[in-house]
Symmetry: C2
Subunit: 203 residues, 2 copies
Amino acid sequence: MSVRRSGRRPGDPPTRAVILAAARVAFSVGGYDHATIRGIAARAGVDPALVLHYFGSKEQLFEAALDLPLRPAELVAEALTTDRDRVGEFAVRRFLTVWEDPQNKPIMMAMLRSVVSNEYAADLVRRLLAKMVLEPLATQLGLPDADLRASLLGTQFIGLALARYVARVEPIASADVERLVAAVGPTVQRYLSGDIGGGLPSG
Amino acid sequence: MSVRRSGRRPGDPPTRAVILAAARVAFSVGGYDHATIRGIAARAGVDPALVLHYFGSKEQLFEAALDLPLRPAELVAEALTTDRDRVGEFAVRRFLTVWEDPQNKPIMMAMLRSVVSNEYAADLVRRLLAKMVLEPLATQLGLPDADLRASLLGTQFIGLALARYVARVEPIASADVERLVAAVGPTVQRYLSGDIGGGLPSG
């Protein structure tokens, strides 16, 4: 009985999806640092050259692996149709909902661990979030200090995810999503469109 | 030529201080997980039994190592003499000032890395902060939901430290302390004494 080396026919199941799934597992287990193209290829049952053929580099593969939970274009479009005074609440609700989905949680956790442990990955995630989510949103809303606002938003979201999902700090870990939307939404709202000092009228 | 095994005379330099300094280095290099009583003793040039004699356990040693930068009793006393509407700004300014001090930065970094990588250390830091800083403050200010307020404060402070000192996200990494005090102070103020939902009057 012969065994085919590659283990897969082209497109059955779609090789790109198989590699992405393997990458999400690898990044979530070891973080950005420890994941390798070779290891991801082995996990997917394909040749490392095929991974590079589809994704170009480890950086681009990481970016593609993050795309599923974030759905950045969709997120921005939805935020822009939301009542402007409630964009903060919308963003917190959406952020937590993405995290609570068992399909997304491993890659979100991978992103968070990579941000904390690796400056390169931290910069990568920051640039991706800025390019895909925060800058389009800030530009559409026509805000000054878009880069400072974007990074302030990042501090609150990352701190919230760390407390709830990694450190499991109570009562945040067990709180209802809507309780946290009420508590944290106004912070996000102010960072996004309120007074953050620096010359704007105060109050 | 004989070499004394212990390498130090009792109290010269003060052994407790030498062990603490060694512990701060060990925790900051490897985080809570990787630091060992044996390794810290070796670094301090003392017997592991002496470390246990002074501090009792790795947990208690970690707690003692954190005490220097936090100075919790002092912090709470100062906060309580501050104008109540400016406690948020005071807390952000004080937090950043502690971090910027080169003497404190290694152990603050150790605390942050331990919180992120180790659930046990995360819980320990949370309990220490709650017991030493947040609960006394909340009790003195007579606030409801003190535990939720304390952990919301934690999310913002941890996210801010990660962005500025670990991930070095711009423009937060290079911003003046007072720019961040103005931007983040109101968030801390609201978590500490404002409306965080959950039945309080809104607004």
